[in-house]
């Protein structure tokens, strides 16, 4: 797979000749310095954008030739049909929704009948059972990321994409959130693709790859 942009005097290449296979249940860390293209890679793998060339398969389906809605449908499914969860560096909670509403939103979107109960349950699991009606601005950074984790796992995804999940948190809080994420990932048998520049965090994954100058290589 490759990815780039057309600029006035040619093409700007972001990712070149990427070959990557992630096995079900595996946790993979994508390491690399800032601007190396790791977040772009994550977006492409999750189907949030289309590569300029090559092919990407998710759950055995080619997603690079699917249209936007086709890719969205793959992300929206539950474990049996695939299903994708996300954890972002900047949490990406909707500020006007409470913690409960934020977790409930993707469940309602996919037509889940017990969205409310499930969202409450998951917020309880991440230790926020007493903060259901709090808005993001009333929560600390660590708490916001725990809401994001609850939101990601509540949909029972087969695949979780995490983009610098501890990047906006202090060391202790980051460690706590990471521990929670890995324990849930193992417990649920979810495949994890984690993008980070934090070697310690990456070390907790089954496998690491490094991206530099738009190229990918396996890391020890």
């Amino acid at each position: 797979m490759e990815h780039g942009f057309t600029v006035p005097h040619g093409t700007l290449s972001i990712l070149r000749d990427i070959h990557l296979r992630v096995k079900a249940g595996e946790s993979l860390a994508v390491l690399g310095p800032s601007g190396s293209g790791k977040s772009t890679l994550l977006g492409l793998l999750a189907g949030l954008d289309r590569p300029s060339g090559g092919r990407i398969e998710m759950f055995g389906t080619r997603i690079d030739d699917l249209d936007e809605d086709g890719r969205a449908a793959l992300r929206a499914g539950d474990r049996d049909a695939g299903g994708v969860g996300f954890v972002f560096q900047s949490f990406q909670l909707l500020p006007a929704l409470t913690a409960l509403e934020n977790v409930r939103l993707p469940l309602e979107l996919s037509g889940n009948r017990d969205a409310d109960a499930r969202a409450r349950d998951w917020l309880g699991r991440v230790g926020l059972g007493d903060r259901l009606d709090h808005f993001p601005r009333q929560l600390s950074g660590g708490e916001q990321q725990r809401v994001a984790l609850a939101r990601a796992f509540a949909g029972d995804p087969a695949l979780l994409f995490a983009d610098e999940p501890t990047g906006n948190l202090d060391r202790a809080t980051g460690a706590h959130v990471a521990e929670l994420m890995f324990s849930l990932q193992r417990e649920r048998g979810v495949t994890l693709v984690l993008v980070t520049h934090d070697e310690n965090l990456a070390a907790q994954c089954d496998r690491r790859v490094r991206i530099d100058g738009g190229e990918l290589r396996e890391s020890a």
Binding site: L48, A72, Q92, P95, P106, L109, G111, A115
Partner: protein, 832 residues
């Protein structure tokens, strides 16, 4: 200079940004509304100015309801002045089974003494200028008469007992000011033909004028001579007296339209404030960088002020172009209202528009932009640090000050300005409050929406709650814009229909005036012949009011302008032994057969306007004879009955001996094409007024005037649409992030579109609903309190307004959402 170059370069970039485009659009709408009104009123004003000097067609003139003394010709000649005579009177012309009320004007050969007549050989032919009147045997008529009766130049025009040849199409006469808003077309004829037509007699409802012109000394001397000879009812007019009431009507119209345009400015201001807020947010990075690079606060301020000035200049240019277009269209609509062509607009309107832009920018945009100089340089490291935001109070105060300035300027006085400002702000706040209440009440709807399967509905309704502040602004603004249009377009028509329902089908539709005493019985016979069962005739005596409670009316300061008008115009007095039909006694006593005294009964509103009541004393002048009477009773008159009615009714013993004419009214079926021509032939001095046709013509005039006001209110609606776009623009980044996030959760485009559609449909629908409610409420108030009518519930408006609102806003909203949806979700997520 360096700043200017940078500002110029950045301005070009600015103009590509969404929020700046919205700002330009909002400002352009404000400029267009105000300058459009300025352009239009300057045209009418110029038309009046042009006519002022010619308005009398003379240097000095005397007007009277009766013919002026014959020896005045000699008096004027003695002072070395040229002189002429005019008489104007209404009459009806018949041709080919059709009738038309006309305003006839007979003039002597030297008319006009000042100014010129313009006429043409055919309605569209070349205009010829002349300074002399039509010769005997000829009439010059306005095109409207030719059109309405199917006549052509060269045809004979039956006038009373005679027939005159239509020789020219009259295009312009100098002393038209009096009849500038006129209903009946003009027929200009020679004074010499008056006798042959037999149209006038001593009792005719005519206005006579004696005109004189010449050198200043002669005019002054003649004025002095006339002043001593003037009798009651004769009025000396100089150029300075030329139609002051018309001028004040124009000034009032100018103020009203100017203030109406400020409705658009208020809404546009809200859009400007929103766009400026977003501009400040977006420019914070740049300001921080410049501070980092060593720019001083004042450098940044200068740079942004220059850019703001540039943005304003672009908006003014676009606004003025729009205004020019608007005044051309409105001028065309109004053209039929004026008997003269309108001159081109003055550039003052452009100045007014530009000044409006400056004040609006200063009041609504400047507070936000000024804060940019306070952006801390540290923002380059910490993105959460922006320019300190402007306090809401500060923004409101600045906006209110700007608006107050504009209102004061348009109103021309403080009191009216105060009321107008309160009205504008009150309306806006009222709508906003109602919108907030509706949204608050709508929370239940969102909660009640099923959680599964109806996600779009739930999320779309939820968006209204999440963005409640902006939604309130959008709904409030759009409801205001729609309500004013509905009030004019729907409620006005409803009120007219309600009034029409109150008029009986067989209510009189023809009035005969100017019936001489000896004609009453033959005319009664003619009407009976025509199948009119019991034609009632009422006496009418022309008089002037001279004293109230022994005080000359010229020395009385009337509280109401209406009172002033009533006091100084010719009075139509009548008398009756029996209490009249379609009247209700409000107080006092009706006279009995034994009452010998000079007593009058007054219509209540007439009495109120003059500030008099039961027991007060009135004195009239009837053809030089004074007549005193005491007010004995007050009546309420049902004018909608279309019966002949009078403000002033005398005890018959007091008035029966005075010279007068008679009037009658009756219902004539539309199929009867015989009676009126016969009446005209046998009684040429009797004037028949077709009330139905007259109402139709007045309605046409009002419709056109209303169309012009609607044009101005159209800008309010456009400004409301811009507020919607500005609000959308203000939260575009949040919406982009929200949509990207939803897409990352797997929401399809259709789901996102549906949710947005529901949000916009609700905003538009609620706006329409509020607008319909407000327009209906205003209509009901007017009907119940002002017009005493039953105001019917107009279901059509309640259905159509929300539908139109929903259609307009969902279209505008979805066009914008489409652009956000076109971006890959990754872009939306990374942007945050």
């Amino acid at each position: 200079m360096k700043q200017l170059a940078i500002a110029w370069q950045l301005l070009r970039r600015d103009l590509r940004a969404g929020e700046v485009r919205v700002l330009v659009l909002a400002l352009a709408v404000a400029v267009a509304a105000v300058a459009g009104v300025g352009f239009l009123t300057s045209r009418v004003d110029a038309a009046m100015q042009r006519q002022a000097s010619e308005l009398l067609a003379a240097d000095v003139s005397v007007e009277a309801p009766r013919e002026l003394p014959a020896d005045w010709d000699e008096l004027a000649s003695d002072e070395g002045l040229r002189h002429a005579r005019i008489v104007r009177f209404p009459t009806v012309v018949f041709h080919d089974g059709r009738s038309q009320l006309v305003q006839a004007k007979a003039v002597t050969a030297d008319y006009p003494l000042r100014g010129e007549l313009r006429h043409s050989a055919t309605p569209d032919g070349e205009e010829v200028v002349s300074t002399s009147a039509p010769p005997a045997g000829e009439v010059w008529v306005e095109r409207r008469l030719l059109d309405s009766l199917g006549l052509r130049v060269g045809d004979s025009l039956p006038l009373g007992r005679g027939e005159l040849r239509i020789a020219r199409v009259l295009r312009y006469e100098p002393d038209r000011g009096a009849d500038m808003f006129q209903i009946a077309p003009r027929v200009l004829m020679a004074w010499a033909d008056l006798d042959a037509t037999g149209l006038l007699n001593a009792y005719s409802r005519a206005r006579y004028r004696f005109l004189a012109a010449g050198d200043e000394a002669g005019v002054a001397a003649f004025r002095a001579v006339l002043t001593d000879r003037l009798q009651a009812g004769q009025r000396l007019l100089g150029i300075e007296d030329a139609r002051p009431e018309f001028r004040s009507a124009l000034e009032r119209a100018q103020r009203f339209l100017g203030l109406a345009a400020l409705g658009a400015v208020l809404l546009a201001g809200a859009a400007v404030a929103l766009a400026a807020h977003r501009y400040r947010e977006r420019q914070s990075d740049m300001a921080a960088l410049m501070r980092c690079f060593g720019s001083r606060q004042n450098d940044i301020l200068t740079l942004y002020l220059l850019r703001l000035f540039g943005i304003g200049a672009v908006a003014v240019l676009i606004g003025l172009a729009l205004a020019w277009l608007a005044q051309a269209v409105l001028g065309e609509v109004l053209a039929g209202l004026f008997a003269t062509t309108l001159p081109p607009p003055s550039w003052r309107g452009a100045g007014v528009g530009a000044l409006t832009a400056v004040v609006t920018l200063a009041g609504f945009a400047l507070p936000s932009v000024l804060r940019l100089r306070h952006v801390p340089p540290l923002r380059v490291l910490r993105r959460d640090l922006g320019a300190p935001s402007v306090s809401t109070w500060m923004l409101l105060a600045s906006a209110a000050a700007a608006l107050g300035l504009l209102v004061r300027w348009q109103a021309g006085e403080w009191q009216l300005a105060g009321y107008a400002l309160l009205g504008l702000i009150g309306t806006a706040l009222g709508f906003a409050l109602l919108a907030w209440l509706l949204l608050w009440a709508g929370r239940g709807l969102q909660r009640g929406a099923p959680a599964t399967g109806w996600w779009a509905l739930r999320f779309g309704l939820g968006a209204l709650q999440r963005r409640r502040g902006l939604a309130v602004l959008q709904i409030g603004a759009f409801a205001t814009g729609m309500a004013v249009i509905l009030l004019l377009a729907v409620v006005r028509v409803d009120l007219l229909a309600a009034w029409r329902d109150t008029v009986a089908d067989d209510a009189p539709n023809q009035f005969l005036i100017n019936v001489q005493p000896e004609e009453v019985e033959p005319l009664r016979a003619l009407l009976r012949d025509a199948g009119i069962a019991d034609p009632r005739f009422y006496p009418m005596v022309r008089a002037r009011l001279t004293h109230l409670n022994d005080k000359p009316i010229d020395e009385i300061a009337f509280a109401e302008e209406r009172g002033e008008r009533f006091a100084h115009r010719d009075q139509n007095l009548s008398y009756a032994a029996e209490f009249p039909r379609a009247n209700r006694m409000l107080g006092g006593l009706w006279w009995g057969p034994d009452d010998a005294g000079h007593q009058v009964s007054l219509e209540k509103r007439f009495a109120d306007s003059l500030g008099i009541g039961i027991g007060d004393k009135m004195e009239f002048d009837i053809a030089g004879t004074p007549l005193q009477a005491h007010v004995m009773s007050l009546r309420e008159v049902d004018w909608d009955s279309f019966q002949v009615n009078f403000f002033v009714l005398f005890n018959p013993k007091a008035l029966a001996d005075q010279p007068g004419t008679w009037v009658t009214s009756f219902h004539l079926s539309a199929a009867d094409h015989i009676t009126l021509p016969r009446l005209n032939r046998e009684f040429p001095t009797v004037t028949a007024i077709d009330v139905g046709a007259l109402i139709g013509q007045v309605r046409t005039l009002i419709d056109r005037a209303v169309l012009a006001v609607e044009g101005v209110f159209g800008f309010t609606l456009i400004a409301a649409l811009v507020v919607f776009l500005a609000a959308f623009q203000a939260e575009r980044a949040d919406r982009g992030r929200e949509i990207a996030l939803l897409r990352s959760f797997g929401a399809t485009r259709v789901q996102v579109r549906r949710a947005a559609m529901i949000e916009f449909l609700m905003i538009g629908g609620l706006s329409g609903l509020l607008a319909a409610a407000a327009a209906w409420g205003a209509g009901w108030l007017l009907a119940a309190r002002v017009f005493n009518l039953d105001y019917a519930f107009n279901a059509w408006m309640w259905i159509a307004a929300p539908l139109i609102g929903a259609a307009l806003l969902s279209t505008a909203g979805m066009l914008n959402v489409r652009r956000v949806l076109a971006e890959p979700p990754l872009q939306g997520l990374q942007a945050s």
